[in-house]
């Protein structure tokens, strides 16, 4: 579904992605694990078109995404739930959802989807007129997911959806991720919480210092080792 090959993204002279290749399979949950600074968020921002890669390609189905504006990429069917959620704080919950459907013009269908989001996330229905900035962290994360879904994406990218949330809320978020996937959504997930991620993922990649260092299915690698490498990395460790 989503094919990334030999992707290089740099901040000035520093290459944050040093030739990343990976494949996200249709209707599966693919997970990307790695320590801080490995380049996971850079990869997400590059796929979404916020950052321009120096070279490499990103293909969705058969379409090249590199060089397209973020708006075009959303229209092609890629939606990112960004790190730290980034809901529009001064807009109501409903307005946030409508903004998520900005690329669409089918008004009746948009309203159907808003209703669907309210059914899936009942908290959002209760608070639909409240300003998004006044929601709790967990509710903001639900809103960010719902907002991304409003564009009817073919692939849903999620960058650290569990960041800064209480354990119970994290469990809820992950059950929603599984649920979305059961309904047919392709998900590409970046996580620090390796334990939770490995429970839902069909396949996963490890990323260290801008490179993919492992590709496989959960169970192929002992969770201990995944966790060690995901948090600490293996390269250039002391000793």
């Amino acid at each position: 579904m989503l094919d990334v090959s030999d992707l290089v993204t740099a901040y000035g002279k520093i290459e944050a992605l040093k030739g990343v290749s990976l494949h996200v399979e249709s209707e599966k949950i693919t997970c990307l694990l790695g320590p801080n600074g490995a380049g996971k968020t850079t990869l997400m921002m590059t796929i979404a078109g916020i950052l321009q890669p120096r070279r490499g390609s990103i293909r969705l189905g058969g379409t090249e995404l590199v060089g397209l504006s973020p708006a075009r990429i959303v229209a092609r069917g890629v939606a990112l739930v960004p790190e730290n959620r980034l809901v529009f704080p001064q807009m109501s919950v409903l307005e946030n959802l409508l903004a998520g459907a900005y690329q669409r013009s089918d008004k009746a269908e948009i309203n159907v989807d808003v209703e669907r989001m309210y059914t899936r996330f009942p908290h959002l229905r209760e608070r639909h007129q409240q300003l998004a900035g006044t929601l709790s962290g967990g509710e903001q994360q639900m809103l960010a997911v719902a907002r991304a879904l409003m564009s009817r994406p073919r692939v849903l990218l999620m960058d650290e959806p569990s960041l800064g949330l209480a354990p119970l809320v994290v469990a809820e978020i992950f059950s929603i991720i599984s649920e979305l996937n059961r309904d047919g959504t392709t998900i590409f997930l970046v996580e620090q919480n390796a334990h939770m991620a490995l429970q839902v993922a069909h396949q996963f990649f490890l990323m260290e210092q801008g490179r993919i260092t492992f590709k496989g299915t959960p169970g192929q690698l002992a969770e201990d080792e995944v966790i060690q490498r995901a948090y600490l990395g293996t390269r250039r460790t002391a000793g």
């Binding site: 504006s69 708006a71 900005y102």
Partner: protein, 298 residues
Amino acid sequence: MVDFFQNTIDGVMIGSSYGLLALGFTVIFGVMRRLNLSYGPSIMIGGYLGTVLYLNHGAGPLVVAGAVVLGAAIAGVYVERLCFAPMKAGAGIASMVSSFAIWMQLEQAAILVLPRHTYPFPPLATGATLEFGPFFVRIDHLIMLVCALGLAAAVQVTLYRTRFGLALRAIIGHPVAAHLVGINVRRAMLLAFAAASAIGGVAGFLVLAVDQQVTPMFGMWATLKGLIAMMIGGLGSVPGAVVGGLLLGVIETHSQWYFGPQFRDLIAYVVLFAFLVARPGGLFGRAPSPDITTPQKA
């Protein structure tokens, strides 16, 4: 007592032109968090275009009004392309300083095209007045007030009831997130800039029609009055822009009446100073929020 009320009425009328100027400023500042010093000079360019059509082709008030608005919008787009669109995120100062440079450029261009200092501008309703008991109101002033209130309402409705307004408010909230939901941020900003300059053009036309003359200094005057009114009213607040403008007008007329014309601007600046110290967000505004970002080239 009659004098006091007549002065207040005059202040409100004159203030409505400040409110209109502040309204355009607010659209730019509210959306981009950027200070466009070339805002007034863009309007002045529109004014010159109107005058040229009036002098050379005997254009009527409606055609002149259209020319001023269109000229201001085009000059505004020119400023945006040159000073704002190419600037990286967080380079607000660079935008402001380059807009200052373009201010000088626009002023010199106007002097090159029409080298005399003052040119006549067609009046809208030559000194005609309405009487309300002991009070007088000039008709062209009344048109100004109606335009200020009407345009402020239109801007407010656009911001809160339309798809374009939703996009602008999303950009104010989180520019990166606005990109991520598929909003064409650059185009929305350009449109906002053109609209803001067009609103300034309306203000420019009405003020010039009251003055019946245009000079290259009009640009500086418009930037200053708009800026002061916006800062008193509240950064990024639409009702604030109008209220700030009206308040500035009333303060100016009373200062002039009680202390003489040489004190008029002095007192206006003292009031601005007091607001900046005591209430930097203005009457209705929020304190300035973090900078806007645009897609970065890696």
